[in-house]
C-alpha cells in the first residue's frame, strides 16, 4: 500500500488539488471550501516534500500517465530542479490557506468565497502540473489552467479596476500562451515528438533549420510574457495591485516563478545549453533585458503611492535578478538564479501577506494610509521590515544569500556591467522599502480615523506571514542545504542539456 502510494505520488500531487476544486464548488459553503483548500494544499505540500527527497535519492522520478510508455504517452518527470520549484509553490499555497480565511472574508462577499478557493485550487493544480510534467504540450495545458484561473481570481478584487487589470492580463497572457503553443508546434513539426527527453534527443539533428530557431524564439517570447520580463511586464503591476490580498500574495510568490521555471526548462533541457547560449545569442539578450528590468523596475517602484503597486514593480525588478542568473548559463549562475527564484518567492509572499494584513486593518492600500501603523500593528510592521530588509539583501536574510550568489556568479563570468547594475538596483530598493518603513514608524497615527483602534491582524494571517519570515531568516542564517540543492539542480540543467 505504502509503495503504491509512493509510486502514484507524482500524479496525486496534481490530482488532489484538481479534484478538490470541483468539491469546493459542490460544497458551496465558504468554510467548507476553505477547509478543502487547506487540506488539499497541505497534502500537496507533504507530497512535494516526499517527492523532493525521492528525487534527491533517485536523481529523477518518472511516471507514465495511463501506463502509456514515455515517448508516446504523457510522462511526468521530477528532478531536483522541478522538485525545488514544486516545494516553493505548494509551500506558499499551504501557508496562503492559513492566511486566507479572514483576508478573503473582508474583501469578497460570502456567496463568492467558495469560488475563490476553488479557483485557487485550480491555479495551484496548474502550477504544480507545470513543474511535474515531462511533456511539452502538457506543460502548455497546465499553463493555461493556471492562467485562466488567475485571470478570474484577479477579477474578483474588491475594486472595479480589478476587472480592467484582469482583462489586461488576459490579453497579454493569452498572447504569451499562444506564442508558447506556436513554439511547441514548430518543434513538434520538426521532430514529431512532444516528450521533453525525446525532444532533447531529436532536436540536435535539426538545429540548423529556421523552424527550430523560430520555435525557440516563440517559446522564449511567450514565456517571458508570462514571467513579466521587462518589455512584457506591463500586465503585472495592475494585476498584483487590484487582486484580493490573498491572491496577490499567492500569485506573486508562485506564478511568475513557475513561468521562469518553464522558460529555462525549455531552454536548458529541451533546446540545450550549447544551442541557445552558444550558437544563438540568447544569453546576451536575456542579460540585457534583465539589467533593464532591474533598473526600470526599481525606479518605477520608488515613485509609487500604492504599497501593493510598489511591491509589484519591485517584482519586475526582481525577475531581472532571477533571469540574469539563469542567462549566465554557468553552473554558478543557474544555481544563483534558482536560489533567488526560491528566495524571492518566499520574500514577496511574506511582504504581500504583511501588506494584506495592514489593508485588512485600514481598508486602504496607499502608503499614506499606512501612517503610524508601526505602533498600531507592531508584529505585522516588524514582519514587513524584516521582509523589506531581505528584499534589499541585508546579511542574515535570504535576500543576502541570493544576491551574494548572483554577484559571485556574475564576477566569475566577467559581467562587471551587470554587477554594477545589480548593486545600483539594490541601492534603489533601499529607497522604496524605506518609504514604506518611514510611513509605518515615523509618521503619527491620524487622530480622526476610528478604525485605527490598535489591534493586530487575526492570528491566521500573523502565523502565515511569520512562517514565511522565519523560513527567510533560516535560509539567511544557514543556507547550505538550499545552496547544495540548487547546485545539484544547476549541474543537472547545465550538464545534462548539451
Amino acid at each position: 500500500m505504502i509503495t503504491a502510494f509512493f509510486n502514484q505520488m507524482p500524479v496525486l500531487v496534481v490530482v488532489v488539488p484538481l479534484l478538490a476544486a470541483p468539491l469546493c464548488v459542490l460544497a458551496h459553503r465558504a468554510f467548507a471550501a476553505w477547509l478543502l483548500y487547506v487540506l488539499a494544499s497541505w497534502s500537496a505540500f507533504g507530497m512535494a516534500f516526499l517527492l523532493f527527497v525521492q528525487a534527491k535519492i533517485a536523481g529523477q522520478v518518472s511516471y507514465a500517465v495511463g501506463d502509456w510508455a514515455p515517448p508516446f504517452g504523457i510522462e511526468l518527470v521530477i528532478d531536483t530542479y522541478s522538485a525545488l520549484v514544486l516545494l516553493l509553490v505548494t509551500g506558499v499555497a499551504a501557508l496562503t490557506g492559513i492566511y486566507a480565511r479572514k483576508s478573503i472574508a473582508s474583501e469578497i462577499t460570502i456567496e463568492r468565497e467558495y469560488l475563490v478557493f476553488a479557483l485557487m485550487l485550480l491555479c495551484l493544480a496548474g502550477l504544480i502540473g507545470i513543474t511535474v510534467t515531462g511533456d511539452a504540450f502538457n506543460l502548455f495545458v497546465f499553463l493555461e489552467i493556471s492562467s485562466l484561473s488567475s485571470y478570474a481570481l484577479i477579477a474578483m478584487g474588491p475594486k472595479r479596476r480589478a476587472l480592467l487589470s484582469s482583462f489586461q492580463y488576459l490579453i497579454m497572457g493569452t498572447v504569451g500562451g499562444t506564442f508558447l503553443l506556436i513554439g511547441i508546434g514548430l518543434i513538434f513539426m520538426m521532430t514529431g515528438t512532444l516528450n521533453m527527453a525525446d525532444l532533447a534527443e531529436r532536436l540536435p539533428g535539426v538545429y540548423d533549420t529556421r523552424t527550430v530557431q523560430a520555435g525557440l524564439a516563440f517559446v522564449v517570447v511567450g514565456l517571458s510574457l508570462k514571467a513579466a520580463l521587462m518589455p512584457a511586464h506591463i500586465w503585472l503591476p495592475n494585476a498584483y495591485t487590484y487582486a484580493p490580498s490573498t491572491v496577490s500574495a499567492f500569485i506573486a510568490a508562485t506564478a511568475t516563478k513557475v513561468a521562469v521555471y518553464a522558460l529555462f526548462r525549455f531552454v536548458f533541457t529541451i533546446f540545450g545549453v550549447g544551442y541557445a547560449f552558444g550558437s544563438l545569442p540568447l544569453g546576451t539578450l536575456l542579460l540585457t533585458l534583465a539589467a533593464i528590468s532591474m533598473i526600470a523596475g526599481s525606479l518605477a517602484s520608488i515613485f509609487q503611492t500604492d504599497v501593493k503597486r510598489l511591491l509589484a514593480w519591485s517584482s519586475v525588478a526582481q525577475m531581472g535578478y532571477i533571469v540574469a542568473g539563469f542567462a549566465l548559463a554557468s553552473t554558478a549562475g543557474v544555481s544563483a538564479g534558482l536560489v533567488h527564484l526560491l528566495n524571492h518567492g518566499i520574500i514577496k509572499g511574506a511582504l504581500f501577506m504583511a501588506v494584506g494584513a495592514m489593508i485588512w486593518r485600514v481598508r486602504a492600500s496607499s502608503i499614506n494610509d499606512l501612517a503610524g501603523l508601526g505602533r498600531a500593528m507592531p508584529l505585522t510592521s516588524a514582519a514587513f521590515v524584516v521582509g523589506g530588509l531581505s528584499l534589499i539583501g541585508v546579511p542574515a536574510t535570504a535576500g543576502f544569500i541570493s544576491k551574494w550568489a548572483l554577484l559571485s556568479a556574475l564576477f566569475e563570468a566577467g559581467r562587471y556591467g551587470v554587477m554594477a547594475v545589480l548593486l545600483v538596483a539594490s541601492l534603489l530598493s533601499i529607497i522604496y522599502v524605506g518609504r514604506v518603513i518611514e510611513a509605518l514608524y515615523f509618521r503619527p497615527l491620524p487622530d480622526d480615523v476610528s478604525h485605527h483602534q490598535h489591534g493586530e491582524a487575526p492570528l491566521g494571517m500573523q502565523v502565515a506571514t511569520w512562517a514565511l519570515i522565519a523560513i527567510n531568516i533560516a535560509i539567511g542564517v544557514h543556507a547550505t542545504p538550499e545552496l547544495e540543492a540548487t547546485g545539484r539542480a544547476a549541474a543537472l540543467l547545465v550538464g545534462g542539456g548539451t
Binding site: V15, L19, A21, P22, L23, L26, A64, V65, G66, D67
Partner: protein, 158 residues
C-alpha cells in the same frame, strides 16, 4: 420572440431532435467523430435556443443555475474520479485497462467523455445565462425600483 409564431413552432419541433443528436454524438464519440465536448456544446445549443425564443427566465426554470453549478463540477469529478478509480484498482492514473478484463479502454473512454459532456454543457449554458442576464443580477434593488427599465432589458435580450 414569443410572439413570432414561425420561430416558436419551428423551435418546438427542433429542440427535441437537437437534444437527441447531442446524446447520439455523446455515446458514439469513442469510435466515430464526436465526443463529450461536441455533445456538450450541442446539448447547450438546445437550451440556448429555448432561452432565446421563450425568454431567459423560462430557460432558468427549465435548467436552474444550481443544476449547472453541480453539473460543471460533477463532470470534472467523473473524469478525475475515473483516474482515481484506476489507481485504486492498482494501475496508473487513467490506465483504463484496469477497469474491465476486456474492453477497459472502451468503458474508460465512455465514462470520461460523459464527464466532459456534462461539464461542457453546464458551462456553455452558464455562460449564456451570465451574458443574457447581465444588468439584472448585478443590481437587484434597481430592478424592483424601476420595473419599467427591467422590461426594456428583456426586450433588448429577446
Amino acid at each position: 420572440m414569443r410572439e413570432h409564431t414561425v420561430l416558436r413552432i419551428v423551435s418546438q419541433f427542433v429542440i427535441a431532435p437537437i437534444l437527441l443528436y447531442a446524446f447520439y454524438v455523446q455515446f458514439h464519440g469513442e469510435y466515430s467523430p464526436g465526443g463529450g465536448f461536441q455533445a456538450g456544446v450541442i446539448l447547450a445549443t438546445a437550451i440556448i435556443l429555448y432561452g432565446l425564443i421563450f425568454g431567459v427566465e423560462a430557460a432558468r426554470v427549465a435548467v436552474p443555475p444550481t443544476l449547472l453549478r453541480i453539473g460543471a463540477s460533477l463532470g470534472l469529478l467523473i473524469y478525475g474520479g475515473t483516474g482515481v478509480a484506476t489507481i485504486l484498482l492498482g494501475g496508473n492514473f487513467l490506465d483504463y485497462d484496469r477497469l474491465a478484463a476486456h474492453g477497459g479502454q472502451y468503458y474508460g473512454l465512455i465514462v470520461i467523455e460523459l464527464g466532459v459532456g456534462i461539464t461542457v454543457a453546464s458551462v456553455m449554458i452558464a455562460i449564456f445565462y451570465v451574458f443574457a442576464g447581465r444588468g439584472r443580477q448585478n443590481n437587484p434593488d434597481e430592478d424592483e425600483d424601476h420595473g419599467q427599465a427591467d422590461d426594456y432589458d428583456a426586450d433588448d435580450i429577446t
